[in-house]
Assembly symmetry: C2
Homo-oligomer: 497 residues x 2
């Protein structure tokens, strides 16, 4: 059927969409969400159909197109195109199969991931896939296949070096900016570590948000390669790259119901590691009250899942379970965390010792994995590298390569408004709950307001006198600071016994 | 946040949608598919958010609204509104619970159905509900609760009579237009039967499509009530009414994967019956090769499900399993089926005897259920009512009340193009497969082209001579007839042994 183009002025960001009039749809026996090909000259795009019930939006004889189709077929308003019904993507059959509880083959998983990456599936169809994987957990064979497919159908960082190190933390602990210490320590010892990190989704800061206080974090894969080849390392935002792109599309439909299908989560994480060609991986699972992994049983089960999957992928792995009951470091929020990192690298007296200790322990393990230190000797090599100033020097190199400028930690700008929380009685700090701290820091403005957040003077077990400062909230806007104060008064989670 | 209105010129037909710029979204910590309230004076609407990645579609400071929101808040382009983040609907928690395999309570099911009916759920969220019900089949208690909720959150036809009869066929058999014979027979015997029917989705004609050849089928519930009070009956399109409206919204997201969650299907059917206040119900399950229900085991299991659910709803039910291996009646397509119905009602020599026999049997059972005939006597009462012309007289009444005009069956217009399929050898008809016949009739134009379709001269078991006509295809357009011919040559399904 010939139809005249109308520009709908919509960008879908996902599957390509076209809207036709109800009467034209009836003539062609087409229904909402059916597929059709749009043909203009020798160019073809496959779209998912919407049906306009009234002529007000799309009258008979016209077709409303999203920006993506307008651009890809180089169409102008008023052009004529041919619309031809076409079959649904093959992967729908496989998604149905999984929803029916059957195991999927390599071919089937590849097809599903290919269709996701190439925007062939509508939101509804993708949601069925997520629901199917959630109801019928993928087994280790399927998870391995999914991981490989997610990595393969995206860009891959190819660096001809061995070993290539990587680290991952399952998250849930405020502060905990170990990556920004581990990367320069390990790289200063001559080990390659091309680190991609995420931005915060529900926390007050992600590593990418924090690094962004000091340098640019959005690079092409070509530029990323250059940085790594020059400095052994980088700390960039994974979202700016096209590594395992199926992941972001899946996360989008998981969000509304806060679904996290375990096997899919594992596949997402490991696919990103495979995409930077990592050969050795250290995984940190913080566990305990107030963290993501509440019990040791859960932590051990997740540890085993990581180990099994890494083995199948040929990645050498070490998984550690750490104390996730309270924030690590003093600053919470991008600028406050960046300040902690710089103080530590510069061996300043303001260094948060818990952050330093944990980072050295992890960097040590990674140096042992990389063969740079004997078993048990990694910690000392890491400590020497940090305290000699070599790690700071390496960080300066990385920041410069990433188009940042060197700034003293004291000069990092914070929110100009602040409010101190003081102890109501003398005693010992019994709890500083991550969930509570994260909510207050976010309400104060983190991570969007870089200098907003919380600075902790105390950790669990510390003595505190009545009237002494426990933490300070920083913000740029009075309304946000007021809301953060109000929230602190309402929430439990910081307690002195 | 204050934003200026932009009209997106989109109608969603589902949940209300608003699009804001990425930068505004970041400021408010909003993500795609989050909920927000749009406030204009004293009016409020809750919307699901889209995020525009570039300023080209929705620049900072603006908000793009769908037609439904523009109209409901009486907004004009350039107006200012206030946008306030709000919580997700309660039902999301319950949908997640079901997806996790737990049973749902009355309160939870009510909330989910209410949110579906009031367009509070996005496609993704609704899809999770369907997937959850598919993976974790609702039990009979949940199915009953779902049925009641679907019926309650919609219009209800209230007629102060007892009994009120209804019938239902699970479909899959071409022709089989028994409803249009049963309704006038039963109504002529003084029994109330307010029949709502569907249009075809995948078949060559639904009862609503066929009745539309003779009369109007789209009425308000008020007008429907008037018709039933005057004539004891009606044959109207359920889609024009607001009976159990959750159903249509669920079907929309089931379509892409051809999901049919059994318990949900049962709930949909029974909710429509509850919505017309039916007290007695006859269900026809055609079974056998080429029908929807392939095996007797499946048919018996479905029968039991209907019986259990009806019992819980307080509806007296009778379920029959009939022969679904071939079309019932000779005409296939709206006009051709309407002609069969009129011939039968007028006791014409062209009456298809299989259709007459099945309709009398079913009408007889319903008359027995209604207490109008003793057990075993219903068939004879139905036969007398039909052959005496009383049923035809009743149909004339109904057609007139439904704004139709009385037409002779011979004068019903058919497609002016036709093509005869003739036997290639002498023998006995072994198979006339419903799926094959339905596909050919649809390709010829049915149900959109009312007079298109197939007319059968033979049924299974009939003798046929070489060169004798087996069926004729009717169409309005040469291209459609050609495609139907081509399809007939390619498909198996009509065979002579």
């Amino acid at each position: 059927m010939k139809l005249q183009v109308k520009d709908m002025e919509i960008e879908t960001g996902g599957p390509l969409v076209a809207t036709i009039n109800k009467n034209d749809a009836e003539k062609m026996d087409l229904h909402p969400l059916d597929r059709a090909k749009i043909i203009k000259g020798k160019k073809i795009e496959t779209v998912v159909l919407n049906i306009s019930e009234t002529g007000a939006i799309v009258p008979e004889g016209k077709i409303g197109l999203c920006e993506e189709v307008m651009n890809s077929l180089k169409l102008k308003v008023g052009d004529h195109i041919r619309l031809v019904p076409t079959k649904k993507p093959l992967s729908l059959e496989y998604i149905k199969k999984k929803l029916d509880g059957f195991r999927l083959s390599k071919k089937e998983i590849d097809q599903i991931v290919w269709d996701i990456v190439h925007n062939k599936l509508s939101d509804i169809e993708l949601t069925y896939f997520v629901a199917a994987c959630y109801s019928h957990e993928l087994d280790i064979r399927e998870t391995t296949l999914l991981t490989k497919a997610m990595s393969r159908f995206g860009d891959i960082l190819r660096i001809k070096r061995y070993p290539i190190l990587d680290k991952h933390c399952v998250g849930g602990v405020c502060g905990n900016r170990t990556t920004m210490l581990i990367v320069p320590i390990v790289a200063a010892c001559g080990v390659t570590i091309p680190k991609t990190s995420s931005r915060s989704i529900t926390s007050p800061a992600g590593t990418a948000d924090t690094m962004e206080v000091l340098a640019n974090v959005s690079f092409s894969i070509k530029k990323m390669k250059k940085i790594v080849e020059r400095t052994n390392a980088c700390i960039v935002w994974g979202g700016a790259l096209n590594l395992a792109p199926a992941d972001d599309k899946i996360i989008r439909v998981e969000r509304p119901l806060a679904i996290d299908a375990k096997s899919q989560l594992l596949a997402s994480v490991m696919a990103k590691k495979a995409s930077v060609s990592a050969t050795h991986l250290l995984v940190d699972i913080p566990a305990g009250k107030g963290s993501k992994i509440g019990s040791m049983k859960k932590a051990l089960s997740l540890k085993k899942d990581f180990e099994d999957l890494a083995k199948n992928l040929g990645i050498k792995i070490k998984v550690i379970i750490t104390d996730g009951r309270e924030p690590i470091g003093n600053g919470i929020g991008p600028a406050l965390e960046a300040r902690d990192v710089l103080w530590t690298l510069r061996n300043d007296k303001m260094t948060p010792l818990d952050l330093k200790r944990k980072s050295l322990m992890m960097a040590g393990l990674m140096l042992e994995m990389a063969g740079k230190a004997a078993k048990g000797g990694g910690y000392y090599l890491a400590k020497k590298t940090l305290e000699s100033g070599k790690a700071y020097k390496k960080m300066v190199e990385i920041i410069k390569m990433q188009e940042g400028k060197i700034i003293k930690p004291e000069n990092i700008p914070l929110g100009q408004l602040s409010w101190d929380v003081r102890a109501k009685k003398t005693g010992i700090i019994k709890e500083i709950n991550n969930i509570t701290i994260a909510r207050i820091a976010r309400v104060a403005g983190a991570p969007q307001d870089k200098g907003a957040g919380i600075y902790l003077y105390k950790h669990i077990g510390d003595k505190v006198k009545k009237g002494e400062k426990v933490f300070t909230i920083y913000a740029y806007h009075k309304s946000k600071l007021d809301y953060a104060k109000e929230l602190f008064r309402k929430l439990d989670g910081v307690c002195i016994g």
